[in-house]
Each structure stands twice: as structure tokens, then as C-alpha cells.
Symmetry: D3
Subunit: 227 residues, 6 copies
């Protein structure tokens, strides 16, 4: 049950440094390090290839076809934040374009993750303002009905609490709860460290079957080779 019509001004942001270091590891590695949880649905796609962003979440709850709260949210953005916007219903309208992006950027926002549509994507791409959305759509919105800012929201199937770390890239968007960020960074870093060596062995021709010791469990599970 969302609170409607409220703006929380003081949120507890995750450590900025931790957020930055998580970003470098990428959404797939961070998600693995979190026990394969925290991921938004794969329909959330970047508006340009190679987009990468991370930050602490300022959340927005929007009404269908109404982007009023994005303007309210702009004031709450601090440098290093990333805006995460949910809508109370499925909607593909273009809630966000180059004017709002200019404002968000001026406030220090690292990007936008929105479970709806955006527009002006050519200009956004030229600005290198990274956006993950479920649609691109020229359709504009009204400013008539209240939503909220900095309440917990469900965005593309993931729960986002204000201040959580968001890591977004070509593979998708992952949410790291503020309280777990340090631990997730540690696990993700360990995972990453081990990948370099694995990559070298695989490139040299070693099979995953041998590197991961899979032959015996496969045999036990009943796998049969037929010549």
C-alpha cells in the first residue's frame, strides 16, 4: 500500500563509494553476488548501446499518463543519485525528455530508470544521459494527479527503497539494498577476481566440464554419451 501525495526529503543513502565500485563490476556480477536476486525484469532496456550508470536511488511513484512527480523529484536529487520511477499502472507514455534530463543533469543525477516510456532519445543519446525504460514513445503526459517521492516502489518487478544502490548497464538493472551494499561489493569483487583466471584457461582450450569438475555430477545425474 503506497503512500500517495508525500515527499520524503531525508533518506538514508548507501555509501557513494561503494555504489561506484559496484558499478564497475556490472549488473550480472553484482546480481550473482547477491544470490541471483535483485534484478529488474529484462524488458527494461537502455536507450543506447553501452549505457552504464550507478547511484543511490531517489524513487518516484507516478500516475498513468502524468509526470508531475518527476518535477517534484528533481528537487530531491543530490549528486550521485539515480532516479527510479514506477507507475501505478502499466503505461508506455513518454514521461521524460530532454528538458527534464537537462534539469536532472544539473542536479547531479547519474541517470533514470523508469518503468514506462521516454522520448527525445536522440538528444538524450547525444547528451549521454543514460536511461533504462520499457518503451520509447513520443506521447506526452499531463500534470494533474499526485504520486509520491522517496517511498519504496516496485519497479519492473524489483522492490526499490530510497537510498538503495542501483547498477545498470547493457545487461539490465540490479537493485542492491543499502544495508547489503558493502557485503555485495565484497562478494562481487571476489567473483570478478576469479573470472580473469577462468577466462584465460577457457581461452586456452580448457573445458568448463573439467574446470568446474562437472563430469562426475553429470554422470551421477545419469548423463549418457552415445557414439
Amino acid at each position: 500500500m503506497y503512500e500517495i501525495g508525500v515527499v520524503y526529503r531525508n533518506i538514508r543513502r548507501a555509501d557513494r563509494d561503494v555504489a561506484g565500485r559496484l558499478a564497475a563490476l556490472g549488473s550480472a556480477t553484482v546480481h550473482e553476488a547477491m544470490g541471483r536476486t535483485g534484478l529488474m525484469k529484462p524488458y527494461m532496456r537502455p536507450i543506447y548501446a553501452g549505457a552504464q550508470a550507478s547511484g543511490t536511488a531517489v524513487t518516484v511513484l507516478l500516475q498513468p499518463g502524468d509526470n508531475w512527480m518527476l518535477h517534484v523529484a528533481a528537487e530531491q536529487v543530490q549528486p550521485g543519485d539515480i532516479v527510479v520511477a514506477a507507475v501505478t499502472a502499466d503505461c508506455t507514455d513518454g514521461y521524460f525528455g530532454d528538458l527534464l534530463a537537462t534539469s536532472f543533469k544539473a542536479r547531479g543525477a547519474q541517470g533514470l530508470v523508469i518503468d514506462a516510456g521516454v522520448r527525445d532519445v536522440r538528444v538524450l543519446t547525444e547528451m549521454r544521459f543514460p536511461v533504462w525504460s520499457k518503451a520509447v514513445c513520443a506521447k506526452g503526459t499531463v500534470k494533474a494527479t499526485l504520486g509520491s517521492v522517496n517511498v519504496p516502489v516496485v519497479c519492473a518487478g524489483a522492490l526499490v527503497t530510497p537510498g538503495d544502490v542501483i547498477v545498470a548497464d547493457d545487461d539490465g538493472v540490479v537493485v542492491v539494498p543499502a544495508a547489503m551494499a558493502a557485503k555485495a561489493l565484497e562478494a562481487a569483487s571476489a567473483r570478478e577476481a576469479s573470472e580473469g583466471e577462468k577466462r584465460a584457461r577457457l581461452a586456452a582450450g580448457t573445458l568448463g566440464l573439467d574446470m568446474y569438475n562437472m563430469r562426475e555430477p553429470l554422470l551421477k545425474a545419469g548423463l549418457t554419451y552415445i557414439d
Copy 2:
């Protein structure tokens, strides 16, 4: 970030009586009374017309193609509960059929809400065991990977905390946080009470335009009638 591999045995259930009285008001009225929040996405449909259920949520987090945790959840069900199952990925497999329904029913479960597929729907219908799902599918599942029971889950776009009240009928599924249940009941009851009189006036030919005093705001908004 979900906890994986845990079962919480003690959850704080909302008041059973409140849950029952919310059910009688229906998902649409309850959702309105909550400020139009708390609703699962409309792809969640009952397996038979007229299905109705309510209860306190026992939550389950499932892995794709794997229904192991539904068996674990059965043990946690108390009379008056309704099971709410999420999956860590999009999946339409048939996680639940008549055997599990028999077991759930024996434990006192009021129904199942699952963001995946179910099967044996003819038998489930004969049993009048109500299920809301996103698919019907004969495909079975394995029992190989752990999920969790009674952790907060996002099911069909709604956050469900164990013990929350679930109200489900032909119009969809609404989640009422345990702490808000009494207040939601009050608001929904008030709303319902006013509907009977309105219905009578509308049936007698009164227009909503007049009953809700809409003519002036419409005029102010600029509505123009053309003969």
C-alpha cells in the same frame, strides 16, 4: 535482495476477522479504499469464473521450473492462510496441481496466488480450490534448487509481506499490509455503504454528471458542447 534458502516459521498474521470482512467488499472496493494502490498486475486471472478468496499471506519464493518450495510452504500453512508464490524469473510452468491442492486444502489454505502457471485446472475447479495465476500449463517442474518461505516477495508487481491480507476475486488480487488492514476495512466499508444509494439513484436515471457535481469542473476545464 531476497534471502534464499530460509523458512520463517513465525510470522505476524493480520487479524483473520478483518481479512474475512475485507473479502466481502471485493478487490476493487478495497483497492480504492487504499488510495488505488496494492493491486497485482491484471494478467493474474482466476482459473474459474466467480472464484473468490481471502486470507493471510504465506509467501513462497520459487526458482524457475522448480516447485520444491511449495511443499516446504505447505507445512507453514495455517487455517485461513492464502499462499502467494513468486518466481525469481518469468516462468509459465505448471507448478501446482491437484495433489498439492489436496494438501493445501487439508492444511486450511484458502487458495493460491502464483506468478507462474498451474495445471489440473478441471480438478481444481471441481474441488473449488481457487487459484489466480498468469498461465495454465501442463508442464511439470523439478525439485532441485532452494527458494524461500515467508520472506517478502514481489508477486505480479505487488510487494507482499508474510501475514498481509490478500483479497482476490474476478477483478484481480489486492494486497493489504497487515498494519493497514483495520484502516482499509473502515475506508472500504464506508465506500461500500455509499454505493448502494448511488446505484439506486443511477438506476432511476440520475446522471453521474449531476450526482457527482461534475458539470462545473468540466466547464472550468474547458469542455465544449456542440449541437
Copy 3:
């Protein structure tokens, strides 16, 4: 380019008697008689099996998540009309429920065709108020932004001009322009007349291959039988 914020009070309705007789022929036959045109997309489904309705269209243009104009439309309904509602964006919200249905019915509406969601479907079914929609959803709507009544609209891929005949049943919804209604009725009736005899011959074992003289064109097209 829709006109926004206008209500046309005087529309030229197709002949009521023709509308009624078209209805008896069914959407598939009428659509065939119109050269296989005029059909809404198949995602438009009746809320109960066996729903049937026809009438002259009162059209409504709605904004996303906002049902204000349905109240405005109610006043424009005359006995024998059917309301056809489009939305300026994709939306599955529940725009219409039992109160509006009570009002529409009191005005003489034959049903509703809406390219969005509806709710209270159990009550609507008990009332036998037929509705075709793209979704069932408990989510309510606001009353904040103007649309229009009785402007031409595109509903589920079909152009509907106020006063057109609408024929809706289990197979879908077909739009017959007012000016073509008489001609469409004639063609559909002729088609229907010929179907009874065909059905009898097919039931007796005659093959369509022979009844429709298909063997020669199939041979010419190169069809080869292999034993």
C-alpha cells in the same frame, strides 16, 4: 488529430432496425459481407461467454487512467446505442464498473466496447450488461483531464464514427459505417441464407473440395497427392 474537450450532441445514427438485424447475423458473417473489413483486433474479448450486443455507436475518447468522459458520455446515450471507448494511450485500468453500468443501462445503452480495462465483472455478468474489453482490472481511475464524446475514434485498430453500427459477440467486434449499413445487411443476409444449405450438405458428408469446386484450382496451383 483528435479534437480534445468537445462533446457532439447531435450525431447521425444508423437505422436502428438495420442495426438489430445485423446483430442477428453475427460479427463473422457481417465482417465477411463487408469484404473482410471493419473488425477490431482479436484482443477485444467479451467479459462473459455468450455476450451479444449491437447498437449505434456513441464514441468516447479517454485519457490514460481517467474515466471522466464516460460520465459525460452517459448523458449522450439514447436507447439502442452502444458506447465505444478509446484511450489516447495503451492502458489496462478498470475504467468502468457496476455503477456506470447501472447508469448506462438506465439510459438505454446496449453495452460497452472499451480498448482498456473494466472491473466488477461478476456484477456486470449478473446484470447481463455486455462488455468487450482488452483487460479486466480492479484498478480505478481519476477524473482530471478532458477527452471528447462523439468524435471519430480508433478503437482496437478500427475507425469508429459516431452513429456507426456495432455488432459484437463471442467472435469479436465489427464496425459497420452508417452509410453502408443497409448494403452490409443485404450482403450478410444473402451469405447467411446460403450457409444453411451448405451446412446440411457438409453434415451429409459432401466435401468442401467438391461443394466449392476447389479440385481444379488446387491442381492448377500445383498441389500433388502422394500415396
Copy 4:
């Protein structure tokens, strides 16, 4: 690579008696008995609740918006067959209605499985002619381009070879290769036999956790109970 423009008149049909007995076991049980394979995608739904059919497959390959080959197929139907129709592209047109159903029924067809749309569903329901389709749509088709009859087809994600056993019900459609039918029947019957006893135990309150000896593997996998 489909053969286009051919009709195979002689196909090797699976044993009719085996087909009938498989039907009684239902699609879910048969699919389980086949190692969880052979199932069509869950978007294939019966046009009325409770539809059940089985038979030996007469296959049809159709072109988009063109139902010519269904008439060709009618001649190849023998009593006990079920027609399985694929289209060379995604299409929701209404390829099949009451006239074709009358003809198919006269030939002894048990039903139709079609990866496209059908129409006249009210009449088909009254006739109790069972159909599984991906859409209901009033739109008609032309008769202009050749497809084939009794070639192997992929229908809704499943490979169907002419003569295979098809088992279809509320849970979906499963394909049993003719050569495997006897073995599948044996496995499915064994599975069914064990279900009755299980159902009784579960109804009496035994947990699946105990009945299936899951507690130890769950513990080994690391499941933790928290009070």
C-alpha cells in the same frame, strides 16, 4: 524445410486404442510420463472450459490468412483423427468456423488444434466440437496459396508427425510420437495409479515433505528454518 504443395494420403497412424487410453489420463500425466516433453506452448487454449479430445494427428501447414488447406485436409480425415494445423507465420485470423467443423465432424474428426485463430465459437461450443487455438477472431481467410497436408509440422513449439497421438484438455496439448505411444501409456498409467493413494494421504494431512522424503535433501541443500 517444409515441403509445400503436397498431400500425403497414407500415413502410419498410432494405435487408436492406445490413443483413447492416453486421453483418459490427461495431458499433464502423459507429459510427465514422457519425461516432461512433447507439450505445446501454453498460449494454446480450449475454446470452452472442459474441452477434451484425443486422436491421431492429420497435420496441415497453412499460409498466413489462407485456409485453403483445411478443405484439402478434410478429405484425409479418418474417424479417430484430430487435425493439427500450423501456419508458416504468426497469424490470428479466424481460419475455422462452424461449416468446416460440420464437415470435419462428418468425417469423424475428434477436434482441431490450430496455431492461429478460429471463429463461430458459440456454435462450435453448442456442437461440442473441441478446438484449441491461440486466438478467437471473426476475421476470415482467402483460398489462394498452397500449403501441405500430412507433412511434419511445428505447432505451438512442438513437432507433430502425421499419425502421432494428440492428447488435449484444459491443461494444454501434448504430442506423443506414434512409436512411443505404447510406452508412454504404460508410464502414464503407472503414474496415475500411484496418484490415488498419494491424494488420500495428502487429504488426511500427511505432508509432501514426509511422503516424498524431502526433508533430508532440503537440509543437505542448506535450507534453514528460522523461528
Copy 5:
């Protein structure tokens, strides 16, 4: 009710100069200037990033899996036109490839908007022939059934009358009725003019809340700030 089997040779085209100037303003600005109407659904996407086109519409009505009418349409193209193609049913076949593009280009076509699939997208991209479609698909089509050229069509949810102005870019496709083109240009230009100054103010840190005077209406609507 579409006319089938006709080609209108003389259509009233919107002013070419107006069309060109609308294009420069972009689909989002033009759509806003038209009261947020006239937009095709957002599933229509350009085949390459940065595609931009505008022109006067030559419309085509196609049958499923059949591109015959695109060849008929080519003859009706005049320099400055853009071809807008609808299909009488949902279809993703590849109706259009590099040969047709070569022909369209030779006739002076500015691009193609098609509510279906296209192919040869690598070559089309190299040719910089802009196409908006709902799918990319290698599947070819037949030439067997008549449609029409230069009749009004519904394409991706928007009504297009021959001669209308089409403005298409990364954000989508907007239709400007010929009779409204001059007025739309005026409104869009005014809108555009005001955006430059707004952008500068937002970049300098002014909030939209202040620039658009939103604080008072938000307060009136009940927005609450919580510290």
C-alpha cells in the same frame, strides 16, 4: 469499412514545405502541438538509430502475408511522399526489402511506415532508406490478393488519410491531417521556440517546480513534504 481493390490516383497532398518544416521539429513536439494526438503506437520502431523522415502519405492496405499492393503503390509515389502501409490482420512477415526500397527511392519516396515486418535491414541501413516497422523478419510474402492504395487506413492505431503529413523519427511516428498541417506547424514552432530558453534555465539549475509555477498547485492538491 475499407474499400478493397481500388487505387485512388489523385489525392490532395498537404503542402510539401509545411511537411518539411514539421519534420525539423520532431515527432514529440508536433504531437504536443496537436493536443497530444495523432501518434502511432510505440511498437513502431525505426530500423536504425537516428532515422528521420517526413512527407505526404501514400497509403497502402495489404493482406496478411501478401505484398502485392506495395508494387501497385510504387507507381503512385511522387517525390516527397512517404508510404504508410497497414495490414488487414496482425502480421510480422517481411513485406519489404532492398529491391522495393530501390524502386521507392527511384520514385522519390522519403521512407516507409509499415504495421508489419521488413527485411534486408542491413542493406536498407546502408542505403539510409528509413523504415518504421513493428518487426524485422526474413520471411517473404506472396502476391495473390488485392488490397488498396490511397484509401484511409488505420496504421498502428492511428488514422491516416492519403496526403496527410507524416513525421517520423527515433521517438515514433505522428500523423498530421493535411487540413491541420499549417496550424500544427505554427503551434509546434511556438512550442519549440520556448524550449531553448527553458533548457538554458534548467541547465543553470532552475527547477521546473519554479519555472512552471507548480508549487502552489501541488500544495493545493495536498502534497506533503516529510523531513
Copy 6:
């Protein structure tokens, strides 16, 4: 009925040289040369624009959320192969990333076609390892349940037998059965040869109407020109 838990080590691969020459002709031309058959559904898209690959198919059958068999498949890859992976249920998980790609590449694989999701797409793009998939998703998978390698699979609606030729590019993925490869190459080459001349004539302004002699059949079909 898939075989589960088997790996066929010896498959009959189509001629490598033929595979390479088919690739140069492109998926659309090859598909046309095969009578417009053999194509996967258009939801299969390359992860980067301009991706091209061809080879002989090593097939993999995967379980939902489980990529174990991709490791087993790696060992069966020979230089010139392309891996084709199907899943027993709809799944968008990220089954494949840069480590597996490194291993596949070391084995000589030409690319991957997978009816599921992949991840690490930025790195895969930098490696120029071409992948066609139905989703991009950071979500990882388990290694718990057996599938099979080198059994016939249905991938995105097309039947793929181990050793078949796969041709994949921006327009989609086409499957050429090994036994038909030589004949398909001949037909596709002939088709390609005739296209160059056609393109030149169309570029010079000749209409398809004349080049393909369509005027008479259009007239016969009843096409009417209206001035």
C-alpha cells in the same frame, strides 16, 4: 518427445563449404530459395547490428533456468559449428555470457542461437561473438537438471536437426536441413544472380508492376483505378 539426458557425439554435419556459401547469400534469400520455409520466429534478434554467422548446428536442449548442458555442448563443438539452444519452457534468463563465449570461441564455434536470454552483451559485442537470442538478461542460471546435446530440437518455432546448416544475420535465423543444403545453395545462388539486374532496372525507374508483369493479373483480380 525429446530424449533427456543424452549426448550424441557423432553427428552428420552438412558440407562446411556449402554452409559458408549459403551464409554469403543471407537469411532472406536462403529462406526464399527454400520455398519460404525454415525460418525461426522474428523475436530472435542479434545482440549487435550487423551480426552475421553460419555453421553446422550443434544442438542443445536446456531446462528452465539451468545452463548445465551448454558446458556439455562445448566439448562437442568442432570448428565451423554454430550452437543452437532450445529450452523445455519459455525462459528469459541469461544462460550465456563472456566465459562460455570464450570457451565456445576456443573450440571454433561460429556463434550461438538461443531461445532464451544472454548476458555480458557489451563484452560479447567487443569479442564480436555473434549471438541471436530472445532476450538480454543479467539473471544467472543453476546447473542441476539434465537436458541433452545433439538431439533434434524446436528452437523459436523451427525444427533443428544436429548438423543442419544455420544462416543468421540481421534479418533472422534460417535452418537448412543437411540433406537439402546443396540444392538450397543452388536455388539461392540463382535467385541472388537475378537480383542484381533487377535492382539496376528498379533504380533506373522501371516499376515492379512492369518488370514482374503484374498489370494483367491485377486487372484480372479486379483492381480498379479511380482518378
